[in-house]
Amino acid sequence: MSAAAAAKKNIFGVIAEFPNARALYEAAERVRDKGFKFWDVHSPFPIHGMNKAMGLKKSPLGYIIFCGGLTGFLTAIALEFIPSAYLYPLIVHGKPVNLFTVPAFFPIMFELTVLISAFTAFFGTFIMNRLPRLHHPLFDYDEFKRFSNDAFFLVIESGDPNFSEIDTRDFLEGIGGNEVVLLYEND
């Protein structure tokens, strides 16, 4: 392994700062068109239309949540009908447990559908975002802390096939990035 390859292995990526949301948006379009795959933009708030500028697909989370909701719905059916119809048939007001009494079981079906969907949405978003992850190379770069205040960053990771220590830096500077800095892995 050459010295250059060893050095490259430790590089996390290149970070560039942009002055505002619009500059970041336009830079993202350029990075997308250049064919980069492992990169991201960091902003204090979600920027409207940024998915398009980055060429990202819609989050598939909605379909996962639907499955969660279905699980909740089926759980409620099992939870209600197994005890009410088999384990402990409860005759209240002389009403039988049959298809005609199904509406009285709806509220709990609805509530459990919502409950499990909400859990899926909550945990799903963090799992898909690979969070919690308290330790990340970006956090070693002190300037990055301002992303949660008012700064806009674009990061191209070294894992990208198009990544090159020199060219990627020049490219980011060329599209208006300020403070272009190489970041290293923190291990």
Binding site: R22, P46, H48, Y88, A104, I108, A118, P132, H136, S148
Partner: protein, 474 residues
């Protein structure tokens, strides 16, 4: 940037700014995080000392009740549900405004919600906590409360899944859980801000842990926004279902005054009315004390007053419709229930309810009253009181004189009733004070997102001659 202005629709008819005085993003972070970072003001210590003492009194009353029995309350037969359920429905109703602001106004793209949604959602959680106390303690033998849950037990007894009371258990517990998840999801980016600003070791550790390593990458925002939208979409029918289910506890019975189909929408409207009043009650002082004037503007207060007016009028329609139906039904018991409501021994409660909930909000037709702190605060205090009286009227007055005159009986609260209710205000306010001290009370990331320069197309685009930009803007 010296761009030449171009004539767009926005230029000809500008929107009213949601944040005044062209405040920057850094200014917002500084203002909101500063509330938690600066030394606690003296009024905060004084207020929390008072509210925590009141909460302590409430807690002692609850312990006294549990060790002695429900006889320490004024409840009797036929008034088996009195202040306990009145307080339960009062508190759960207050919660509804928070979910309305965070979910329904999100789906309807009401961007002004960003200034108040965090505090309103926190208020929801604390109100539901206060609400949850009452059903748990009113069963008397609290060690039996697990019977509410459908768990296998040696007696092979299962709950009746067709009972509105069990629906209520599921509705309220789901509502609380989903509200917590929604609230925390919204907090994560702001906890990231708190983490990145934190100076002290403890605060850096705690905020760092809670922020879960949030990096604000667009690949993260993509999933985050989807989850946020779906949670808003789930919370919307949920919040409407919760107070509908609460109203089923009454509407599915045969008691005159309870047995009406109008209850679910009427309860939901009342809940939103009472909740918005509570949001105003909490946020108007907070606005003055923390100098939030540029974030929580008169325009915000104005629209909230209009919601008070709308929901107050819906409630007024429901009160009137109940009277009309009582007359039109020709049912002697139904008619008596409503004559007794307004002219019986508790007439003062009904008229207080009507004045506070229907008459007072009509002041909000006048713009000058919507933009005056005194009138806004007065009307919201009226609504707070009026909505408590509404529940008292519906539950106690309907119960105390039912079908058989031989079982009629008056209800009088005991000191334990009063102290427990006041105590829940102590719990509620203490939790709220802790919240504003330790967590950002305005959703910073969301407010930044509605600033004009948050829009990636804010500045008129400079000449786009390269193909990529044309493609993206096509």
């Amino acid at each position: 940037m010296a761009d030449t202005p171009v004539t767009t629709f926005e230029n000809r008819m500008p929107r009213r700014p949601l944040v005044l005085n062209n405040r920057s993003m850094a200014w917002i972070s500084e203002l909101i995080s500063g509330i938690c970072e600066n030394k606690a003001p003296r009024w905060w210590w004084v207020t929390i000392a008072i509210t925590a003492s009141i909460a302590g009194i409430g807690g002692s009353c609850i312990l006294y009740l549990l060790f002695t029995g429900v006889g320490v309350w004024g409840n009797n037969i036929p008034v088996a549900w009195a202040w306990d359920i009145t307080n339960f429905v009062f508190w759960i109703g207050i919660g509804h405004a928070g979910t309305l602001i965070s979910a329904i106004l999100f789906l309807t793209r009401q961007k002004w919600r960003t200034s108040i949604n965090r505090a309103a959602e926190a208020m929801t959680l604390f109100a539901v906590i206060c609400a949850g106390i009452f059903p748990a303690i009113h069963v008397g033998r609290i060690w039996m409360v697990w019977f509410l849950a459908p768990v296998p037990n040696p007696n092979w007894i299962w709950p009746n899944f067709r009972s509105p009371l069990l629906w209520d258990v599921f509705a309220v517990s789901t509502y609380f859980t989903v509200s917590v998840l929604f609230w925390f999801l919204g907090l994560v980016p702001d906890l990231g801000t708190m983490r990145d600003r934190a100076k002290g070791r403890i605060s850096r550790f705690v905020y760092g842990l809670l922020a879960l390593g949030w990096r604000g990458g667009n690949r993260q925002w993509n999933h985050y926004e989807m989850a946020y939208m779906v949670l808003a979409g789930l919370s919307t029918p949920l919040v409407l279902s919760v107070h509908s289910t609460v109203s089923f506890d009454f509407a599915t019975s045969i008691l005159p005054g309870w047995h009406t189909t109008i209850f679910p929408p009427y309860f939901v409207a009342g809940a939103i009315f009472g909740g918005f009043a509570m949001v105003l009650t909490l946020m108007l002082p907070a606005r003055e004390l923390f100098k939030l004037h540029d974030v929580f503007t008169w325009d915000h207060i104005d629209v909230m007053c209009k919601i008070l007016l709308l929901t107050g009028s819906i409630v007024g329609y429901a009160y009137s419709m109940e009277l009309f139906v009582a007359y039109y039904s020709g049912n002697a018991f139904e008619r008596f229930a409503f004559i007794n409501r307004y002219f019986g021994p508790y007439w003062w409660a009904s008229w207080t309810m009507f004045a506070c909930n229907v008459v007072m909000p009509q002041l909000m037709w006048v713009r000058a009253f919507r933009r005056n702190l005194v009138t806004v605060f007065f009307v919201s205090m009226c609504a707070n009181a009026g909505m408590w009286f509404e529940r008292f009227v519906i539950f106690v007055i309907s119960l105390h004189r039912d079908f058989l005159p031989s079982s009629w009986r008056m209800y009088y609260p005991t000191w334990v009733d009063v102290c427990t209710f006041v105590g829940t205000f102590g719990i509620f306010l203490t939790l709220f004070l802790l919240f504003i001290r330790f967590l950002p009370m305005v959703a910073m990331s969301e407010v930044k997102g509605v600033l004009p320069d948050a829009d990636p197309h804010f500045h008129p685009p400079v000449a786009h001659d390269d193909e990529t930009a044309k493609e993206a803007h096509a």
